[in-house]
């Protein structure tokens, strides 16, 4: 499965070797590889950054930022505006909640909804 997305994992190999491949397997059932990987990267970013809990160590924060950036680039490459907007809104919801804002649905639920809305 790593072969399918390998070119997009530069700098993130250590995260893929952790839990990312399992997450990818879940999303791969819902979407084509690049979108499944984008969803996986968003989930990984939130986990790496411990969003809403404790502050991560700087290297984990930066790795999380790279996950979000890579996901954003993968989504931009799809040229699907609505998909990009739906993914961004999912991150906005969980980040706002993490900062003390209104409660959000679970991230995975938001991402699946974003994907299903566009399949």
């Amino acid at each position: 499965m790593a072969d399918e997305v390998g070119a997009n994992l530069a700098g993130l190999e250590s995260v893929w070797d952790g839990s990312m491949s399992d997450t990818y397997a879940f999303f791969r059932h819902q979407a084509r590889p690049e979108i499944a990987l984008a969803a996986t990267l968003v989930e990984s970013a939130v986990a790496l950054q411990d969003l809403g809990r404790t502050a991560p160590a700087p290297p984990r924060l930066l790795l999380g930022d790279l996950c979000l950036a890579r996901a954003s680039r993968l989504l931009a490459d799809t040229h699907d505006t609505e998909l990009q907007v739906a993914f961004a809104e999912a991150v906005e919801c969980v980040a706002a909640e993490a900062a003390g804002g209104p409660p959000a649905r679970a991230l995975r639920e938001l991402l699946v909804a974003a994907i299903l809305g566009h399949r």
Binding site: G11, A45, Q49, D50, L51, G52, R53, T54, A55, P56, P58, P59, L61, L62, L63, D65, L66, L68, A69, R70, S72, R73, L75, A76, D77, H79, T81, Q84, V85, A88, E89, A90, V91, E92, A95, A96, A98, A99, G100, G101, P102
Partner: protein
């Protein structure tokens, strides 16, 4: 024309000299005041203003003098609350602070020429806290000729105002826990270089649409600020533009969430423009920035590095967003590919020049940036790279940088860098890079935005003396 503003000045000690020079300059640049006067007025009876030298020992002398003139331990009738009327609950005993205020000014006027505060080499502007810590505020009036007004109909599109309005509009709808910290950061000032580059670049094509350009420009500024929020946490910086960083004020966990929120929001705003080229340009830039930030942190073990390393990190960390702002703006305006490429190179060079100028602020007492911060955080910086190569002082600089960096070590490095003359060399180099940037666009038909692009280019290094 008069433009009114307020400047928040949070203080952290009972008596404190807060250098506000850089923030005032930023406000002048942001307002576009070219020739005129800046009037400042304290809105408090125990916060004064003065212009003096920002030298730590001198500030200690001034503080000691204030203490001698009106010792805190003395008795003051003002503090006898039982005898006074109209006492506000919780009013502190501060007769000493009012007496000390007699030695300071409640207001002052500063001249502005060519968009710069007219100050002598050693002059800095201070708000002087006499009864802190408190959240203070100054009233500002800027009076004179403003860039947008003075340049006539061809140049008077209020790009800056559009960007500010769009930023305010976008922030208005966000949940307070993320909006508050971002609003404070955005309102702290800044030149808005990246958004203005995007605005101007968008005019160089067939689809000039100021409102869409303002949306792109505001999104780029929010991306930039989101990145600063995370950067400040990584660098453990306590202040930015004289104010506490989001991490310092709100806690690191919230800072992470605020950065993520505005990263996502900015990418959404850009996606909603419906221009795939623009989305890809910004997405590529953000990825480059993230990779360079990781690179930068990794390189702190090989501090201070060499010129090639410096250029690679700066191109990624700083110049990538300048270049993307120019490129995306031109793409949004549907400029020809040749123009897009030229503007991208123009932005890349401006970003490099900007970072060189920013490096020099580490050695400037009036910059608003804590002295020696880059040295303490072991951030790759051009003056340090050159100082390590200096024949007279290089060996000692290398020796100091290889060891623990306590205050006295940082002070010695600062002195050696100054003595080696590399600050002038970096300043010259920054000016040369701006000149190269301007050469990139000199052959383009700039549809009336040439002077503004040149102004913006020069303003990337206007902090270089």
């Amino acid at each position: 024309m008069i433009s009114a503003r307020r400047l928040d000045v949070p203080t952290s000690r009972a008596t404190e000299f807060v250098d506000i020079t850089a923030r005032l300059q930023d406000m002048i640049s942001a307002a576009g005041l070219r020739e005129g006067r800046l009037h400042l007025q304290s809105l408090h009876t125990t916060l004064g203003l003065t212009v003096n030298e920002n030298e730590p020992l001198l500030l200690g002398d001034l503080q000691a003098m204030l203490e001698r003139v009106a010792p805190r331990a003395n008795k003051y009738e003002h503090d006898n609350l039982a005898r006074r009327s109209g006492v506000v609950p919780g009013e502190p005993p501060n007769g000493h602070a009012h007496c000390r205020h007699l030695l300071l000014q409640p207001g002052c006027t500063l001249l502005v020429e060519a968009g710069r505060l007219v100050l002598g080499r050693w002059q800095s502007v201070f708000a002087v806290e006499l009864d802190g810590p408190r959240n203070r505020q100054l009233a500002l009036h800027m009076e004179g000729d403003f860039a947008g007004v003075a340049e006539g109909p061809a140049h008077d599109r209020p790009d800056r105002e559009l960007v500010e309005l769009e930023l305010a509009r976008q922030l208005l709808v966000d949940p307070e826990p993320v909006r508050g910290p971002m609003r404070r950061l955005v309102e702290a000032g800044g030149k808005r270089l990246r958004p203005l580059l995007a605005m101007l670049s968008s005019r160089l094509g067939a689809h000039d649409d100021p409102l869409r350009a303002a949306a792109l420009a505001a999104a780029i500024e929010l991306l930039h600020h989101a990145s600063l929020v995370h950067d400040d946490y990584v660098d453990q910086a306590a202040t930015r533009r004289g104010r506490p960083t989001v991490a310092a004020r709100e806690g690191a966990a919230r800072a992470v969430a605020v950065g993520d929120y505005y990263f996502a929001k900015a990418t959404r705003m850009i996606a909603q423009l419906g221009n795939p080229e623009v989305s890809s340009t910004i997405a590529d830039a953000v990825e480059t920035i993230c990779l360079s930030q990781m690179d930068d942190v990794r390189l702190r073990g090989m501090y201070p590095g060499d010129y090639a390393t410096y250029l690679r990190v700066v191109r990624g960390k700083t110049a990538a967003l300048f270049a993307a702002a120019c490129k995306a703006g031109a793409q949004l305006g549907a400029a020809p590919i040749g123009v897009v490429d030229r503007l991208q190179r123009f932005g890349d060079l401006l970003g490099i020049a900007f970072q060189m100028a920013d490096d020099l602020l580490d050695y400037s007492v009036s910059s608003g940036k804590p002295l020696g911060q880059d040295i303490r955080s072991r951030t790759v910086s051009l003056p340090l790279i050159y100082a390590t190569e200096d024949v007279r002082h290089g060996a000692r600089v290398r020796e100091l940088l290889a060891g623990p960096l306590e205050d006295r070590h940082v002070q010695e490095v600062l002195e050696l860098v100054e003595a080696s003359g590399v600050l002038e060399r970096v300043g010259e180099e920054a000016r040369g890079v701006v000149a190269a940037a301007l050469r990139e666009i000199e052959e383009l038909t700039l549809d009336g935005v040439g002077p503004q692009l040149a102004d913006l280019a020069n303003s990337t290094i206007d902090r270089v003396r």
